[in-house]
């Protein structure tokens, strides 16, 4: 079974703090994604990566950055957290060798910014 692990399930941060959300997958997947999940808005893509040290902006990259130094790890960084970044963050991975579109998701990291 593919396992995508998000290290922090719940975080509470203050406005202006730097926040790191970590995601690790154990199936040697090339592709990794960060989405945020908000009621009524669904899942919106923040950033994704097809390879180590590679990143591409998704639909809502403003206020976020990412890092992929190793194939199995994809980090989401909020340089200066704001209250409108309070959300559920979902990490996902997929393989380029299997039929496209099958994403494996982590359990999510619920971030509250006060």
């Amino acid at each position: 079974d593919v396992k995508v692990t998000q290290s922090s399930r719940y975080l509470v941060k203050r406005t202006g703090e730097k926040v790191f959300l970590e995601c690790v997958q154990d199936m040697d997947h090339e592709n990794m994604f960060w989405y945020r999940q908000d009621p009524g808005l669904g899942l919106r893509l923040i950033y994704f990566s097809y390879d180590v040290k590679m990143k591409e902006k998704g639909d809502i990259p403003e206020g976020y950055s990412v890092s992929r130094e190793k194939k199995e790890r994809f980090s989401l960084i909020l340089e200066s957290a704001s209250t409108n970044q309070t959300s559920m963050y979902l990490c996902a991975s997929s393989s380029s060798l299997t039929p496209p579109g099958e994403l494996f998701f982590g359990e999510g990291s619920r971030l509250t910014v006060l």
């Binding site: 995508v4 592709n31 994604f33 989405y35 009524g40 808005l41 669904g42 899942l43 919106r44 893509l45 994704f48 097809y50 998704g58 639909d59 979902l90 996902a92 997929s94 380029s96 039929p99 496209p100 579109g101 099958e102 994403l103 998701f105 982590g106 359990e107 999510g108």
Partner: protein, 109 residues
Amino acid sequence: AQRVTQPEKLLSVFKGAPVELKCNYSYSGSPELFWYVQYSRQRLQLLLRHISRESIKGFTADLNKGETSFHLKKPFAQEEDSAMYYCALLPISARQLTFGSGTQLTVLP
């Protein structure tokens, strides 16, 4: 740019009744369409994809290119079908999915 629309945020049906979750899309090419499901306290997971034409847990979905729709259907809903359902679109040659806003299905006893 592509777009996925799920018009119903909430949908309630009684156990044993038919259920249809609506999904419409806009995209200039021929996309691949998917349904993902998230049960309470579980991870989001793939339910089915249109290209495989399979039935999963009694659910089916037909891609209607003329109406640009991909509605999810089940003839007899069960209480365990209660979950959040997301329709998703994969553009040609892309690896990232575009998701709809989701429909929360509640199957009442």
